[in-house]
Structures are given as structure tokens and as C-alpha cells.
């Protein structure tokens, strides 16, 4: 508890991180209160088509079918955050497992797994995600899995490097000599010490996942039942000359959310890895 408070206090000393946290809390609150704030389904017509923003019925204008842009943005926040977090969790499961196995066992296993990781890093991830979603069908689960499937290599590399570093440390060797099974050594001794860089990279990955999700739904590969920011921008393209607000506001929503998560991630980096932070900041 005390340690958590210390970490928090140290995080709050980074102005950029605090700004990010404030914006992020705003987005999360918006996602939570969306149904209260806009009780009508975001797909429903609530106003005349092409109402400009700040003008009567709707805050941010309406689209070509009379849908409320503000309501769509609020509901889109739920989708973006949900997909961002769950696909990062999927990437964490794959990446940490692969990295841990490679780093712990080393040798042949490591070599084979790292070749595999390298291959995944070479192929263009976004195109792979397009292919996966287009083939398996654009459902929420498939989008999450596709983003997870293209994001994990970075986490695998990081976890492997941490495991290689910690593997030879005395306290780990001592646990091995005591005859503890590999799983116990990994979970009780190595992983807890490798967790902070993983948290930092994971938090930044939420931002990149949100960007991939928005690009997928911009291309028409989002879940057709869920309102998302990328879909809104994609739909606005044909009427950009009449209705600038339809593309501008959802884009600002993506931009602010991604910026906020990046700022929080950097703040976490400075807090959790003060020793490494200066080097990692550029990468």
C-alpha cells in the first residue's frame, strides 16, 4: 500500500503524465456515462441531417443520417477503450509467454522462438490484421485477436531480454538450486522483477492498439454493430465538403485518447524505471 502511494506520488510529479491522466480519466468517464448522457442508441436518427455543431439540437452536429455526432463519439469511446485494453491483454498473454519461455530456457528453444518473433516483426502488421479480420469476419472478438496477433512480438522481445538478464542473478539461481520447478521460479522470482518495463510497454501498446483499431474500422473492418471513431471518419469522407465536423471531432477524440495514454505511459516509465527512462524515452 505504502509502495503504491509512493509510486503514485512520484508519478504525480511529472506534469506531462498528470495532464495525460486527466485527459484519460475524462475519456473513461465519457465512456462510462455514455448511456446516461445519450439515452438514445447512437445509430438512431435524432436530428435533421447535416446539422452544424454548436447550433441547437446537437452539440457536435449531426451526420448525413441525422445521427448525433457527440453521442457517437461517447459510444465510440467505449469501443476504443475496450478494444485497446483487451487486445493489449491478448498481446501480453502471447508475448510474455513466448518471451518467458525463450529467455528462461535459452539455447535452441530461444533461437527458434526468436526467429519466429523476428518474422512477425518483419511482416507488415497492419496488412496482416486486415487479412485476419477480412477472412475471419469483422466481429469484436476477431478485431481484438487480430490486433493482439500483430502486437505481441515487441512484448516477447522485451520479456526475453528481461528474463535473460534475471536468469543468471543469484536469487534466481538459488531458487533453481532449491529444486523449485521452472514455473514457480518464473512466476515467483523472475516475473515480479520484470514486470515494470512490461507494464510501461503494455500501457503504450494500448495507444497503438487504439490507432490500429481506428484504422481498421476506417477501412470498413470494424464490428458493424458497434459505433467507433474510425468508422465515423470513414463514413464522413464522401461528405467532407459539406460536413467537416463529421470527420474533425472523432479524429480529435482518437488523437486526445492516444496522446493521453502515451503521456501516462511516459510518466509510468519515469516512475517505474527511473534508471532506464532516459534511454527508453526515445525508443
Amino acid at each position: 500500500m505504502r509502495r503504491a502511494l509512493n509510486t503514485l506520488a512520484s508519478f504525480l510529479r511529472h506534469p506531462a503524465g498528470v495532464i495525460g491522466l486527466v485527459i484519460l480519466i475524462g475519456v473513461v468517464v465519457l465512456a462510462i456515462v455514455a448511456p446516461t448522457l445519450f439515452p438514445v442508441d447512437p445509430w438512431d436518427m435524432v436530428a435533421a441531417p447535416f446539422q452544424p455543431p454548436f447550433d441547437g439540437e446537437t452539440w457536435l452536429g449531426s451526420d448525413m443520417l441525422g445521427r448525433d455526432v457527440a453521442a457517437c463519439i461517447a459510444y465510440g469511446a467505449r469501443v476504443s477503450l475496450l478494444i485497446g485494453v483487451s487486445s493489449t491483454l491478448a498481446a501480453l498473454v502471447i508475448g510474455v509467454t513466448v518471451g518467458a519461455v525463450a529467455g528462461y530456457f535459452g539455447g535452441r528453444v530461444d533461437e527458434v522462438l526468436m526467429r519466429f518473433v523476428e518474422l512477425f516483426q518483419t511482416i507488415p502488421g497492419f496488412i496482416l490484421a486486415i487479412l485476419l479480420v477480412a477472412t475471419l469476419g469483422p466481429s469484436l472478438t476477431n478485431v481484438i485477436l487480430a490486433i493482439g496477433a500483430v502486437s505481441w512480438p515487441q512484448l516477447a522481445r522485451l520479456t526475453r531480454a528481461e528474463f535473460l538478464r534475471l536468469r543468471s542473478r543469484e536469487f534466481v539461481q538459488a531458487a533453481v538450486c532449491q529444486g523449485q520447478p521452472p514455473l514457480s521460479v518464473v512466476l515467483r522470482h523472475i516475473l515480479p522483477n520484470a514486470v515494470s518495463p512490461i507494464i510501461v510497454t503494455g500501457s503504450l501498446m494500448i495507444a497503438s492498439s487504439i490507432l490500429i483499431e481506428s484504422a481498421l474500422s476506417f477501412m470498413g473492418l470494424g464490428d458493424p454493430n458497434l459505433m467507433s471513431w474510425g468508422f465515423m471518419i470513414g463514413a464522413s469522407r464522401s461528405v467532407m465538403r459539406q460536413a467537416w465536423w463529421m470527420s474533425v471531432f472523432p479524429g480529435i477524440a482518437i488523437f486526445l485518447t492516444v496522446l493521453a495514454i502515451n503521456l501516462v505511459g511516459e510518466g509510468l516509465n519515469d516512475t517505474l524505471n527511473p534508471r532506464l527512462s532516459r534511454k527508453a524515452r526515445g525508443a
Binding site: L119, Q121, F126, I130, L131, L132, V248, L259, L263
Partner: protein, 340 residues
């Protein structure tokens, strides 16, 4: 002669030969893996694989489906199918687009130049301007210009590429009417070769800017931290103590060392640039592979999607090999094998 012997006696040239050879091995490996993956994907897709390959075009046509089944050997055991699809891919037979009524390869080759032009230009521009901005920021760490560039790159880094493209169109094409909003070349106008080149360049401004912006931000941030790190090392102090001029220190000592991690990361980002090209081409109706994959997705034209996946992966490896070659040029200490 053994590999070691070649490296030892052949000098630089043989290093390049080795690099090219390992590049070729890499490309063939990736082609095989992607072909396998494509094969699995067609069978993992819900429904009849023949339907999947036909796309929406042949949904109800039993003759076409029968034709596809025999062409792809879909009635044979999986391993036989896989072997024949690998063989086909290696001979660059990428199948047939039943939607477009053309071979996939001819479609891809027609679109490839436009994509190479766009990604290549954006890749080089982002590297050049990113390192330049990063150097300015890094050598003036703490001053206002450094703060300014740092904030700008932080903001750029959070922009969705496709939205940036649309906003540039809104501003420069719709509002100001300075630049063309989409396309590759002005249609229906007689032009000399030079006019045509100028026209294409004019059309390229907005797509290239949108694609390059994010990577420019990444390289600028990286270059800045790298410069700050190298700046504190002893050989810089020595050079300064010897009375070497400041500009020479930056150009000959600082830049050359600080740029190495940027080149490494640029190689790793190549896949991202190519992926970004997909959305940028979609926004700007740029007649390349990205635009083609967008249309293929709309029409569920799987052979085309899979072909693009393969070709784009090869493009990425090409960019990777290019950055490796640049790395070796900048840092002769590194031998071929240790660059990954």
C-alpha cells in the same frame, strides 16, 4: 572457400555479397511462411474455401466453384494442397482474381510502382527531416527550440495517419485550394514528360506528408535522445579540447555516432510505413497496392488480399536490407552478421 575466409580476405565487397545472400534466404523464408499462412487462412475462413477464393463474384455459380476446386486442388489432401500452393507461390503464381478477371500478379505489378514511390519518398523524407530536427533539438537540449520540437513530435506521434490525411485535404484542398485532394496525376491533360513528373510530384505532396509525419516524429525523438547521450561521451570532449570547431564536432563526431540507433529503428519501422501506406492510399485514392487492398476488402477478393500481403512483406524486407546496408556504410565496425 569458407564463409569466414571470404569475409576475412574478400573485404568489403564480399560483405555485401554475404549480405545479399542472407537477404535472399530471408526473402524466400518469408515467402514460404506467408504462403503457408495464406493457405491456413483460406481454410480457417468460415464457409467453403472455393467460395472464399471466388469472393462475392461467384457466390451462386456452381461451375465457377467447380473450376476453382480443381484449379486449387481443393479435393486433394491438405498436405498436397499446401505443397502445390507453396510451389505456386515460389514461382510467383499468385492465383487469379475472379472479381477482376485477371491474374493477381499482373494486378499487383501494375500497382506496385505507385506504392514504392509513395513509401520510398515518405521513408526517406521522414528519416532525413526526423534526424535533422532531432539533431537540432538534441544539441540545444533545454532551450526553447528543443521544447518546441519535443512537443510537436509528441503531438504528431498521437495522430491517426488517415485522419491527418483528411485534415490536410480539408485545409489545403477544400479551404485553400492549393493542392489536389486525391489521385496520382491530372487526368485528361496533354503533358510533356517533365510536366507529368511535376504533376505527379504535386499530387504526392499531401499523401507523402501524411505518411511521413508520424515517422518523422519517431525519428526526431530517437535522434534527440541519442544525440544527448553521445554528446556526453569522452571523444566529444576530447575533440572539443583539441579545438575542433563546433560544426565539425556535430557533423563528423556527433551525427555519425548518434544516427546508428535511428537507422536500426527505421529498419524496424519499415513494416509500419508500408502499413501506413494502405490507409494513406485509401484516403488519397492513390493508385497503389494500399488502395487495391481496400477495394479487395470491400469485394472480399481474397487472392488479391493475400497477394498484396506477400508483396508488401517483400517490400518490407527490401527496406530492411536497405537500412542494413546504410548501417554498414555509416558504421564499418559492424560486420554483416551482427546486424539484425
Amino acid at each position: 572457400m569458407s564463409v569466414v575466409a571470404i569475409t576475412r580476405y574478400g573485404g568489403r565487397l564480399s560483405a555485401y555479397v554475404l549480405g545479399a545472400a542472407s537477404g535472399a534466404v530471408k526473402i524466400i523464408g518469408v515467402i514460404l511462411v506467408i504462403a503457408t499462412f495464406n493457405f491456413i487462412l483460406v481454410h480457417a475462413a468460415p464457409g467453403d474455401p472455393a467460395q472464399v477464393i471466388a469472393g462475392q463474384s461467384g457466390a451462386a455459380d456452381e461451375t465457377l466453384l467447380r473450376q476453382i476446386r480443381s484449379a486449387y486442388g481443393l479435393d486433394q489432401p491438405y498436405l498436397v494442397q499446401l505443397a502445390s500452393s507453396l510451389k505456386k507461390t515460389l514461382t510467383l503464381d499468385l492465383g487469379y482474381s475472379y472479381r477482376q478477371q485477371r491474374t493477381v500478379l499482373s494486378l499487383l505489378l501494375e500497382r506496385l510502382p505507385a506504392t514504392l514511390l509513395l513509401t520510398g519518398t515518405a521513408f526517406i523524407l521522414s528519416l532525413v527531416f526526423g534526424t535533422a530536427l532531432g539533431t537540432i533539438a538534441g544539441t540545444r537540449a533545454g532551450k526553447w527550440s528543443d521544447t518546441f520540437f519535443t512537443i510537436v513530435s509528441l503531438l504528431l506521434y498521437a495522430l491517426p495517419v488517415f485522419w491527418l490525411g483528411l485534415m490536410l485535404v480539408l485545409l489545403f484542398s477544400v479551404q485553400l485550394n492549393w493542392l489536389p485532394p486525391f489521385g496520382y496525376v491530372t487526368v485528361g491533360v496533354e503533358m510533356t514528360t517533365w510536366q507529368r513528373i511535376a504533376d505527379i510530384a504535386w499530387h504526392m505532396v499531401l499523401p507523402t506528408l501524411s505518411l511521413a509525419a508520424v515517422y518523422l516524429a519517431i525519428y526526431a525523438r530517437l535522434m534527440r535522445s541519442s544525440i544527448i547521450e553521445v554528446k556526453q561521451q569522452d571523444f566529444i570532449k576530447t575533440a572539443r579540447a583539441k579545438g575542433v570547431t563546433e560544426s565539425r564536432i556535430v557533423m563528423h563526431h556527433l551525427l555519425r555516432n548518434a544516427i546508428l540507433p535511428v537507422i536500426t529503428v527505421a529498419g524496424m519501422q519499415a513494416g509500419g510505413v508500408v502499413g501506413g501506406a494502405v490507409v494513406v492510399e485509401t484516403v488519397f485514392a492513390w493508385p497503389g497496392l494500399g488502395r487495391l487492398i481496400y477495394d479487395a476488402v470491400l469485394q472480399r477478393d481474397y487472392p488479391v488480399m493475400q497477394g498484396i500481403f506477400l508483396i508488401m512483406s517483400i517490400v518490407v524486407i527490401g527496406l530492411n536490407l536497405l537500412t542494413e546496408a546504410v548501417y554498414r556504410m555509416v558504421d564499418p565496425r559492424i560486420s554483416v552478421r551482427s546486424v539484425t
